[in-house]
Symmetry: C2
């Protein structure tokens, strides 16, 4: 123990690095992030006020030993202090030439929840008088002194800050001034006297001040706030914090002094130009507080040209050294520049992209690093309009829900899909469609609206899925919002919003505002982003395809970089106005001829849809999924039919209205009710859908396959390079696939023969039922491709009905920490991920060249994309709007695993 | 090729055995089952009419070569025929001393779909005249002749049989007789002439007859019927069939001739005494046809004492040789006994058990063989009353449905649970409860009824589950049956059954009859069965536990041999009349105090239920599952509430009834409707149930755990050896279990502290969600036992809602052969079985002594039990009525894998 080095001067960072074996991350672990960077700057010859760091190991030993400094650690600190005295030529506690120091905590990871700073340590009555003699600035010295007592009282002694502030308020009142900085020296002397009474334990001995402050920092590691923060942020509890003791420098010592903060590049635009604020004759907190208008750091060039030149040089050197844009604090004390901190700078999404690309082109970093530095969420920013921060701050927030589809939308509230559509189409109004929840027959309204807001539903509710699919901003599950569809109003808390009122919703954050907020529209064609994504494409091995039902979506997906369509749903098309009656007839008739007639009516529509997709994706694969949902989804809702019948019966009984009309309505509704009840399923998610429908009603899927191949042949004849892939959903047993494929492939061949042209095609299946994954070796006998439907696979593997759960227990689980991630947002690695691994292995054992992808909602989620890369999938397929994100995430996954 | 032996005389079976390397199964493969047994009897010195077998290899080579006898095979057959001539002293085709032969197919496995027999080969006009001279019996000879032509025409020439039968009908009419055997010789001569015209290709050359017949047998292997049969029965297509050519013997050559069939033991009771029928001066088919009253084989002792003694001796020797009860055909031709066939005899369940036990005690077989010889289905027979075959034959079958709970029940139809209960309890009537489907509040009626019949639902519908649980015969899903609850009638096809009419249902077969059928009640205390099961217990390694909710069931289970309770459901108890209002209050109140009050009211009931279980299972483990179903199951049905409200509104509108009463009803129903709608889930199977309920409403499961431990402590104080195991259902993530277990185990400890007594207990979980199985290593950290809930595990892993599917696509899948087994009846080995294996391996990797069982419906299914044995489970738990079956199945699984 006696050999342990517990304290490192800022000039000893090389020793610290040697002690931990060279790894910079371990230096940060030993000295904390702040201490390590102060040492590194010192090593680089950057002017840093001298000081030293007491290590995190000392902290842990101190706490372990029942709050006792271990071994000779405090003696080492005193020796380090002596070296600082030597370096500065000042002496701690010496009234004639006093050294003042700050004491700051500094853990490996930044922890806002921890005790931070005590400044001006070393002042007492005597030293203060000596400093006044030295500086001639009594106000400055007394103000520094009262700040020491106040911070020490609060941070070290744990006193309530309020009584101190009351003293200050009283003094300002008495002096008739508005701010503390205007208080005259004599008034501050009175404040100091009163502060000493509030903090009788404040020691006048500078060395005791310092030791107690260091101990307070160590103890703060186990404070409640710090522990809570670490729990929340997932930081280990056994790291400890370092203490940094550093010579005080003052930017408020006249017109040759100044203080400021600056970034080495523009944090908003990413432009390669130092950017920041500074103030002459001021302290750091004045810059932050904004009590005086700050100057732009460029203005230093005129005011303090030498310091400016030095600072620009240092900023450049630091960026070169860290290979990253730096966020720096500096102080100029009587013409001498000091750097007090440097760290990697925060930036907007736009700046992040530009800086990464610029730095790579400058040769500062390589392209792999550039690709790794931008987060997929930052790419998302480019794809959706955003509210400006100012307009958000100015607006009144109405409520908050789930942020299920990003982007900002402003519009007038419409409570029905029809109204939303007619306002938008006929009157050109901007509309936000507001519903308790949405259903397939609301889609026309959703398409017409700027954004969607619902009070029910979860992350994968119908509203959320459709919104993401079409890139519409959406906030769902705003439970506190009560919608009165009859009164055409909604209310949250006290506020009431009527149909036609303006609201603004932020699908990126889940916020809902009243009124019209200002929006900013970033640009997907940003040249830096385009370059970054092209680099990402070089590194990724995972393909990126898109889910698109309509040609316009497919075109967008292709523009965004999609290399195929991984999922075209065929049933959305069934809900369109001209088609739904045919679909309902097909379902409700018992007569095979009538059913066939309805199917024949649908065929041309489907063929047209598919032909458009093939043309848009000329040369690329298009996976078309055969009908998936249970048939009752296309029929009226059971409870609504019962209510309609009851209403008509009541009118009849009361003798109101046209009796024969009512009776006819009752008869028609009752007939429909019977059919709805016949098709009723206790658990439709596990019911007659997907391939099960195809087996029970083969003429339906046969019609779809005919439409696909007629469209493909037609396009091929026009010279389009078509690659249809027919996807059979919900397979659970290989025999289902075997049976359906033989029926459907025969139809495909018949069409190609009729058309006199052959097209390249595949038959494959969704893997969305656990059994299909478990028996993938068998399933692959009859599937040329697999596509994981991870939404359904999550539902069945987890035994969770997503809509029920996301407005119920699943949200409670996430709040209570039973689950840390929503499995419908990010693939559950241990459960669903394991099952996917079994499926990949099984499928490829039978068919080594099996094409495997994913087309669930997770296809656009970066963590899930990383898992897909690890599992060796061929591609992910996601909403067109997430294609650029997926390209980047796939590249990052490849780089991480390389 | 020229060395190949294609033909084996019956006296050359030893050569055949040597040729295949000694294995008897391969002898059967080469010679077919019939040929092998004829050879074996010959080897044993049993008198068998001489003959020979053309091998299956010859058949395959014949078919391979484009229907040409391979090599010298036909020459070998002719040589074998010469040896038969030598042995019999008769000559084939010689009119003075003719040899007649039969030609029969004989594959390795019995195949009813194949061509079978041509008799009397060797007859033509000349030979017939010679035989008449020899026997003096023209009628016999002509009849034999016409049979040859008819069989040859049908079997060899492929002619339609109908014209032949028309000739016979005409002849009977002309002769004025009722049966063919009464036709005089001259009439038969006319028939022969007409038959020859119908079959002009019939050859008069005996050798050609023989060769063509043998070829027809060979060709029949590839006939459509045979291929279909093999596909259905899972028999390989590359086995081929043998041909057996055997000397004809005749039991109808006067009073010293006879023919018969007999078993070496009584096939009905199992008594060790030869049993069978015979007729003097008759042919085999006369015995079977029943045209003359047969004699008991014992009567032979008086009529033909020598033949009888010889036959009894042979029967004994064959049984000794085959170690199995034999089913024999014999013919006595002019005092000489011939055996024509022997094979293992079919028997009733009762006989199977007794014979196996007797044979083991006689030392004929060992106990392992005895245990292996009785099928679990045969044990099932002892547990349920059965209809006598006679009464079934006499009765009119009304319909057929799913045989979901075995046994026979007779009663008067009652269409409501209340009526069923009042008729049974108050009037002592026997009742069959008939409903479209049953619900939990029908249970009192089901308990009171003799049996249950429903028109809807599947193998695991509520009706089926409850019926099996309580051993009530049940037939469900009789789709063709229309129930008119208003008219109190049901109709099937044309028949209508009214309330109060007698019906009989056979839950073993799924049949429904009108009227009162006679029932036979077998006896579980059958001493042979008891002995067999005790032997089974010696061999099995898998424990057999029972699912029981009530003490009376637990007692029965213990009587039947259960070694623990693997599943006591706690929620059934919530449906009882006094309790349901408390349960509904608990669910519908928003006030925590009112909820706690309701729970406090339920506690004593639950405690009482559990105490009874612990007492009944003194010394054995009792696994109690905490509440599992979603809460809305305890509330009124949504559609019904809507209908009730509508009816009241209509009455109000029409001015009928008491307005304020109606308004109050509407208000109350509307309030309940709101709560029902709030609890509504799109897919309740995947919704808020099981542990999810326990986490959302911890006071509910805490009450249950308190009741369990209060009951356990109370019983322990009375000296009962209690082993409660608390089972948490529906775990999908280890954290759910961790959270619930910590809350509940704390409650358990608190109760034991209050009671001042410690009891041995475990906490564990159901494995019924795929994710729990996939992450079993994690789950086992907090589970002391696993119990596979294979019903739910099948639903989620297969993505099939059982009730929906069993009345829908799943039945179609089974009919169409897409699935060969209902996964809700037998565990799907490739899918669910694989997942169970992952769970067993994962769980035991974390906790090597993890107790693992199964408590789904599959626990009583022999194939599933075998899988559980292979997977290394500790026990299966099943309905008390299936415990004996499970004991046997578990032993057989152990013996098979040993």
């Amino acid at each position: 123990m006696s050999d342990t080095k517990w304290v490192y001067g800022f000039d000893e960072v090389a020793d610290a690095q040697a002690a931990v074996g060279g790894d910079w991350d371990e230096v940060r672990g030993l000295l904390g992030g702040k201490g390590a960077n102060l040492g590194e700057m010192t090593r680089l010859g950057v002017p840093v006020p001298p000081g030293f760091t007491i290590t995190t190991e000392a902290c842990l030993a101190y706490l372990d030993a029942g709050e006792q400094f271990p071994g000779d650690s405090w003696a080492q600190a005193e020796a380090a202090l002596a070296r600082v005295e030597e370096a500065t030529g000042k002496t701690f506690g010496d009234k004639d030439n006093p050294l003042l120091v700050s004491c700051r905590s500094g853990a490996k990871f930044s922890m806002p929840g921890m005790m931070d700073t005590v400044l001006n340590i070393g002042l007492n009555d005597d030293v203060a008088e000596g400093m006044i003699a030295l500086t001639g600035d009594a106000r400055f010295v007394y103000d520094s002194y009262r700040r020491l007592i106040q911070m020490f009282g609060s941070v070290v002694l744990g006193l309530d800050d309020e009584p101190f502030e009351e003293v200050l308020t009283g003094a300002r009142k008495a002096a008739g001034v508005a701010s503390d900085s205007e208080l005259p020296p004599e008034a501050l002397l009175g404040v100091i006297a009163e502060f000493k009474q509030l903090a009788p334990a404040f020691p006048s001995d500078p060395r005791e001040q310092l030791k107690l402050a260091a101990e307070a920092v160590f103890r703060s590691w186990n404070g409640k706030r710090a522990i809570d923060y670490r729990n929340a942020a997932g930081i280990a509890h056994d790291l400890g914090t370092a203490v940094n003791i550093q010579t005080m420098v003052f930017g408020n010592m006249g017109d040759t002094s100044a203080t400021g903060v600056a970034m080495s590049r523009n944090a908003t635009t990413g432009e390669n130009k130092v950017e920041g604020d500074f103030l002459v004759n001021a302290q750091g907190e004045d810059v932050v507080a904004g009590t005086r208008p700050t100057l732009h750091v460029e203005d230093m060039a005129e005011i303090m040209p030498d310091s400016y030149a030095e600072f620009i040089d240092i900023a450049g050197r630091l960026e070169q050294h860290y290979h990253e844009m730096q966020d720096m604090e500096f102080t100029i004390e009587r013409g001498t520049l000091w750097l007090l901190q440097t760290r990697d700078g925060k930036r907007t999404a736009q700046a992040a992209v530009r800086i990464a690309v610029d730095q790579a082109e400058e040769g500062l970093i390589d392209r792999k690093t550039a690709v790794s530095r931008v987060s997929p969420d930052q790419v998302d920013f480019f794809l959706h309009p955003q509210f400006s921060a100012e307009s958000k701050a100015a607006a009144g927030k109405l409520a908050e829900g789930l942020n299920v589809s990003p982007g900002a939308a402003v519009g007038q509230v419409a409570f029905t899909a029809d109204l939303a559509e007619s306002w938008a189409k006929d009157e050109g109004r901007k509309v936000i469609m507001v519903r308790p929840e949405t259903k397939p027959d609301d889609v026309h309204g959703m398409l017409a609206a700027e954004g969607i807001l619902t009070s029910k539903g979860g992350r994968t509710s119908h509203a959320a899925l459709v919104a993401r699919q079409f890139g519409k901003p959406a906030v769902v599950g705003v439970a506190e919002m009560e919608i009165d569809l009859k009164a055409h109003t909604m209310s949250v808390g006290g506020a009431t919003v009527s149909e036609g009122d303006w609201i603004s919703i932020d699908g990126t954050t889940g916020e809902v505002f009243t009124g019209q907020l200002e929006t900013l529209v970033p640009d997907i064609s940003d040249p830096w982003l385009m370059k970054l994504l092209s680099w990402a494409d070089e590194f990724r091995t995972l393909g990126v395809w898109a889910n698109a039902d309509y040609p316009v979506d497919a075109e967008r997906a292709r523009r965004y970089g999609a290399e195929g369509i991984g999922l075209a749903r065929t049933e959305h098309m069934f809900f369109e106005t001209e088609r739904l009656p045919l679909v309902q007839k097909m379902i409700t008739t018992e007569d095979p001829a009538a059913r066939q007639e309805a199917l024949d009516g649908l065929l041309p529509y489907q063929r047209g849809d598919f032909a458009g997709l093939f043309r848009a994706m000329d040369g690329l694969p298009v996976i078309i999924r055969l009908i998936d949902p249970p048939l009752h989804e296309f029929l009226p809702e059971h409870g609504q039919l019962l209510r309609d019948i009851a209403a008509a019966q009541v009118s009849l009984a009361a003798g109101e209205g046209d009796a024969s009309g009512l009776e006819a309505k009752i008869a028609a509704d009752t007939a429909m009710l019977e059919r709805v009840e016949a098709l009723h399923e206790a658990n439709p998610m596990l019911g007659t859908r997907g391939v099960r429908l195809g087996i029970m009603i083969p003429e339906l899927t046969r019609m779809q396959v005919r439409a696909i191949f007629e469209a493909a042949c037609e396009a091929a004849k026009d010279g389009v390079d078509v690659h249809p892939e027919v996807m059979i959903p919900l397979t659970s047993h290989v025999n289902e696939l075997k049976r359906q494929r033989s029926v459907l492939e025969a139809e495909a061949k018949a069409v190609m023969e009729e058309q006199g042209i052959e097209v390249d095609y595949k038959f494959g299946t969704m893997i969305e039922i656990p059994r299909a994954a478990l028996t993938a070796d068998e399933v692959a006998e009859y599937a040329q491709f697999f596509s994981f439907g991870t939404n359904d696979l999550t539902q069945t593997t987890y035994g969770i009905s997503r809509d029920d759960a996301e407005s119920g227990f699943l949200m409670a689980y996430l709040e209570q920490g039973i689950l840390t991630e929503n499995p419908f947002a990010t693939i559950d690695r241990n459960g669903i991920g394991k099952l996917m691994g079994i499926a990949v292995e099984g499928g490829r054992s039978t068919r080594p060249d099996l094409e495997i992808g994913i087309c669930g909602e997770h296809g656009g989620d970066p963590k899930s994309i990383a898992l897909c890369h690890e599992l060796g999938l061929n591609y992910v397929s996601c909403s067109p709007f997430r294609v650029p994100i997926a390209r980047l995430a796939a590249a990052q996954a490849a780089l991480r695993s390389a």
